[in-house]
Structures are given as C-alpha cells and as structure tokens.
C-alpha cells in the first residue's frame, strides 16, 4: 500500500530537458541540455530525477511527458503539449496569471489562460526560429559573450543599436559588421534584445495581452530581454523562480489531476508498466 502518491512531469524541449517530481509539492526538479542522447534517453533523465527525489520508479503514480520530444518518452502514461502544461504550471505559481509568454530554444508561444489554468487561446511562431533563444545564442557566440552574461551586459547600454534584420543569419552578419566598426558590445546586445522583443510583441499582440503577464523558458533568465519586452508590451512582467521547469511542473500537475479525477469517478487508471528503457529511434 502506498501512502504518498508521486507524479512526474518530463519536458523534453528542443534545447533543454526538464523533469519535475511532486507529491503535494515539488520534491525534485532537474534541468539539463537536450543532446542527441537525451532525445533518445528520456529514461536517463527520469533516473536522475528519481535519484534526486530518493524514490523508486515504482512509486510514481503517473507520468506525463511534454515538449518537442514528448513522443520519445516510452514510459509516459500520457502526453500533453507544452502549451497546455505551461498554462497549468503557471496558474499553480501565479493564480492571477492571464498571459504566459514562453521563450524557448527554438520557438516562442503566447498563451491566454483562465483562472483554472486552462488555455483559452494561443499563438506560436511558425516555420522560422528567429526570435527564439537560439537567436540569442548565435549572437552571443558572434560577440564572444557567454549566454548568461548577455542580459546584464545589455543593461549597461545608453545607446542601443538598431538591428534591422530579422533573419538570424543576416542579423549575425549585421552585428559582426557593427562590431568591426567599433560599436560597444553592450549597445549591440541592447539592440538585439529590442529587435527580439519587437518580434515577440508582434506575435504576442495577436492575442489580447492581459496582466498578470508571466514569462517562462530560457528567455526569462535574460534580464535585458525582459526589460525590452516589458517596455514594448507596456505591461509588467513576472518571472517564476525557476522559469525553465513550468512545463514539466504543469505536466506533473496534469498527471495528478488525472489520478484524482479517476479516484473521484471511481474509474480505473490506465498506466504503463514501470520499466525504464531507452527507445530506438535512430
């Protein structure tokens, strides 16, 4: 007989893999890069999270996978899109949230949510990944600045550059050319953040943006981007303590809801056998 029920959420994004294990509250969360390995080895990520939580796989009542790689998690009992999961995760942290902007590695999503954390509308960038986290990575690399420094460095700028290209490759060339002409790195980074915020705003404003506005994903760790985004949106922006795990958190919470609903309705719970194996996709 189990006394405590555990729920796991695993979010395999294009760049980062996240996992959360919770019962009444979060008991373990892990974040790591999605290499070719993680895409295939969701079991390793799960093992790591289990070790951290110091529980066995058998004690997990329900597992939900999400994110770009959600279909590559063979042991997940159910999969939901990251849109549904972010909405659920955010409402548990910010009960007044109405708009969520997730700035991920290769895509950006804006989600409108109701008070229960259900999605009411959403938009996503399509076809082109300019404006996502990858854009900043490329620019940071061009400028020789480490990714975790770009935000703070850009805040030192008094005269942000104008970056006119939207395409990542051309913007990279534009930045390289301006750098060669002696433009300060902080100005270039501030310009890049403004251009990025502009692109995000154009997409987000297709929805009716209402406060509280929460930003999640890797982009939420960049203070320069948040400042530019807040200014252009004309709204205050709130950020979760750990903005990377809200998708995995939402996934685990959705799992808990499914289990509770099944208990209430007295319906059997369909779960997979608890076997951790790597899958063969290559």
């Amino acid at each position: 007989m189990t006394l405590t029920s555990y729920y796991a959420g695993i979010d395999i994004g294009s760049t980062m893999t996240k996992a959360v294990i919770l019962n009444k509250k979060i008991i373990a969360s892990i974040i790591g890069p999605t290499g070719p390995e993680q895409r295939r080895l969701a079991n390793k990520v799960m093992e790591e999270a289990l070790n951290k939580a110091a529980i066995s796989f058998q004690t997990i009542t329900y597992i939900v996978s999400t994110g770009y790689g959600r279909i590559n998690v063979p042991f997940a009992d159910k999969q939901f899109t990251e849109i549904t999961c972010h909405a659920k995760g955010i409402i548990s942290l910010f009960p007044k949230a109405k708009t969520v902007i997730d700035i991920g590695g290769q895509d950006i999503k804006a989600i409108k949510i109701d008070t229960t954390g259900k999605t009411t509308d959403f938009v996503m960038n399509d076809k082109c990944a300019a404006g996502s986290g990858r854009f900043i990575e490329v620019i940071a690399d061009t400028l020789g600045v480490s990714l975790d420094k770009v935000g703070d460095l850009s805040l030192q700028s008094k005269n942000p550059a104008k970056i006119s290209n939207i395409c990542t490759i051309w913007a990279q060339q534009e930045v390289a050319a301006s750098l060669a002409q002696g433009m300060p790195i902080s100005d270039l980074l501030a310009g890049v953040h403004q251009s990025l915020a502009d692109r995000i705003c154009r997409m987000v404003n297709r929805l009716r943006v209402e406060e509280a506005v929460i930003v999640t994903g890797g982009g939420a760790k960049n203070r320069g981007l948040l400042k530019a985004l807040s200014e252009q949106l004309g709204h205050e922006i709130l950020v979760p303590e750990e903005p990377l795990i809200t998708g995995a958190l939402g996934a685990a919470l959705l799992g808990r809801e499914i289990v509770e609903k099944a208990k209430q309705n007295n319906t059997p719970l369909k779960t997979k056998e608890r076997i951790l194996e790597e899958i063969e996709i290559l």
């Binding site: 899109t81 849109i83 549904t84 009411t120 509308d121 959403f122 996503m124 399509d126 076809k127």
Partner: protein, 386 residues
C-alpha cells in the same frame, strides 16, 4: 473487415497513391483527358464534349524544383506544386489544360502552362470577380466560348441535350457526396475525414460515371459499417482552399479530433451546390458556378452596411455547417501567399468569434516538412477545446 470493404477501400487508396492511374488507361483507349485546376471549371461542359475532366493535384512530399525555374515564389505553394508536377511530366497523359480565373496566380501563370507543357489544347476561362446582372451575362458568353472551343477540339457538337444530361449526372454525384457527409453526423462519425477526403480527391481523377459507381459502393460499404473507425473526440471543421493531400486531416484524426465538415474546394465548397435543371443549361451552369460557389475570390457586395452584417452574409454557410454537423472547433488552414484566403483571414476570424466556434488558424507551405510543427498546434488546440 469484409473482403468487399477492403476492396473498395483498397481501390480508393490505390487511385489516391497512383493518382491518374485510371486516366492513363483511358488515354490508351483513345480518350481525351482534359486537366483542370480549381472549382470554377464547369466540368459538365467538358464531359458533354466526350472528353474526361481530370483535376490536377499537387504533392506535399515532392519538393518544388523545376516549377520554380518557371514560376516566381510569390505564387502559392499549392499551385506551384501542381505546376511543378506537370512540368516534371507527371500528367503527360493529358490532352489539354483548362485554367479559370480562380485567383491572380492562375491568371498570371496561364501563359507559363501553355508554353511549358506539351498538351494540344489550352483554354482560359474568365470568371467575373463580382456577382451581378452584368457578370451573369458576361459569364454566359464566356461559357459559350468555352463550349465552342471544346467542340472544335473534340470534333463534336455539344447540344443542350448533352449538357442537360451531364448536368443531371453531376447533380447525382453531388447528391451522393451529400449522402456521404450525412455519415459524418453520427458521434463518432461513421466515416473518417481521411476516408472521405481521400475518396473525393480520387473521384476528381475519374470519369464522372465511374466516380458515381465508386461512391455507390463506398456508400453501401459505409452503410454496412457497425462501428465508427474513430473514437469520440472534438468535432472539427476544416476551412480552407484545396486540400488534395490528406495529411492534415489524418493528423487531426491521429491526435483524437474527428473531422466532420469542411468548406474545402475538394469538399463542400465544390460538391454541395447543385445546378438548376429545366431552363437553359448554360444559364444554369453560369448561375451555379458564379453565384453558388462560395469562394473568397468572389467579391460579394455588403448590403447591410455593417461589418457584422457583412461577415454574416459572406460566411453564413460556415455557420450553417457548424450547426448541422455539430462542430466543436474549426481549423482555418491557409497556404502561404494565397491571396484570396489571406485577405479574408481577419474577417473569417471575426465570424468564428461571432458564432462562438473556437478557431485555430494555420498558415502552411504545402510541404510534408511542416507536419511536426502543425502537430503541436493541433494537439494544443484539441487539448484546449476537449
């Protein structure tokens, strides 16, 4: 599954995969096959001439290569794909090609088709962009020109009796398609969207008589079905242009949605309106093709003076289908660079809001390469409305 069932489903799948298979056989028998594009070509006139109309189809799995050396990329990818396959000799069994003024791309590229392809017959049909008395008169004359041009090519007079006969056969065909749609009303529907759109896509590659026989068998088989091929799920409406590759519909159904109605060109837009019988056949055809086909290419005057009134009159067919087929949500699927639909997106969005049907707007490039991106959007939409 009984053997018979697998037979008719296999036939449809074979014709779908090897699109033009039957047309090639008919060509060998000496028949003249006339290619066309768009729902505005009056097929009744082609069939009355003794030629066989054949809807030219694109292929989302085939990258557009040779076609792009002859057409600019401002043309929508669906149309470019149709052209690309044609210049790659996919449809060399055709004897001719008819292109209507279905959109600006069709007008501007008409000459490219006629220069680049080895067919012996080409004809352009000028479709008025507005509906009104003068348009009807003009379109009558235009259809008579088409009739004479086909008579010359086929070496056979097209009499009013010939037209009355083909009008009757095409109306029968539309009744059968409507009957097929009736099976979508059950929950879950007795026929999947994938099956239905595949069958209709295949039909446009067959002579109308054979299409009708195929529909009879298909209807009988679906009628005998004890159980739906789908599980209960959100009932989805597909709004858009020609969806001649079933991948999108298949994806929606894989993700648990049931596609139950549409406005697409190889669906309700084309198959629901019937031609009036009894009067002058050319008048009746002009009326059907110009007034009854509800396509964004046609400008319809706003008689109400308000935006709300305008969208209500332009899109009331959507509202009617949404009610009739008990739709839970709609997907507006628009090809990039499709001007007629592109211009209408904001008005269509407003209309869906006014009838309280949740909408997912997808813009796509007519390529199988975008399927995984579409997957996340569609799945999230189904999670949202489910």
């Amino acid at each position: 599954m009984s053997d018979k069932q697998s037979n008719i489903f296999n036939t449809v799948e074979n014709y779908y995969k090897d699109y033009g298979l039957r047309a090639k056989e008919l060509k060998k028998e000496g028949k003249k096959i006339i290619g066309y594009i768009c729902s505005f070509v009056p097929l009744e006139i082609i069939s009355a001439s003794g030629c066989i109309p054949f809807r030219v189809r694109g292929n989302i799995h085939e990258p557009i290569t040779k076609g792009d050396t002859l057409l600019e990329t401002i043309v929508c990818p669906y149309y470019r794909s149709c052209f690309d396959l044609s210049v790659k000799q996919t449809y060399d069994f055709l004897s001719g090609m008819v292109i209507p003024h279905g959109c600006d791309s069709m007008v501007r590229s008409y000459s490219a088709w006629s220069y680049s392809l080895p067919y012996s017959y080409f004809h352009f049909i000028n479709i008025p962009t507005v509906c009104g008395e003068s348009s009807s008169e003009f379109f009558d004359a235009e259809l008579n020109t088409f009739r004479r041009s086909l008579e010359k090519f086929a070496g056979k007079a097209i009499t009013n009796d010939d037209l009355a006969r083909t009008i009757r056969i095409y109306n029968e065909n539309r009744d059968k398609v409507r009957a097929l749609y009736e099976f979508r009303k059950a929950d879950p529907p007795r026929i999947s969207g994938t099956e239905l759109t595949m069958a209709l896509t295949v039909g446009s590659s067959l002579p109308i008589g054979e299409f009708n026989t195929l529909l009879d068998q298909f209807l009988a088989e679906i009628g005998r079905r004890k159980k739906s091929p789908l599980k209960k799920g959100p009932r989805i409406f597909i709004d858009g242009a020609c969806l001649d590759n079933i991948e999108l519909i298949k994806l929606v159904e894989e993700l648990g949605g049931n596609v139950v109605a549409d406005t697409i060109c190889n669906g309700a837009r084309d198959y629901f309106p019937k031609t009036d019988v009894g009067g002058d056949p050319i008048d009746a055809l002009a009326h059907r093709y110009l007034d009854k086909i509800n396509c964004p290419k046609t400008y319809r005057e706003n008689k109400t003076g308000t935006f709300e009134g305008d969208i209500a009159s332009r899109f009331n067919d959507i509202g009617a289908y949404a009610k009739e087929f008990k739709v839970d949500g709609a997907i507006l699927y628009v090809y990039k660079y499709c001007d007629p639909f592109g211009f209408e997106v904001p008005a269509r969005k407003a209309y869906y809001q006014s009838i309280h049907v949740p909408l997912l707007h997808l813009e796509d490039v007519y390529s199988a390469g975008t399927i995984s991106q579409l997957r996340t959007r569609i799945q999230a939409f189904l999670e949202m409305i489910g």
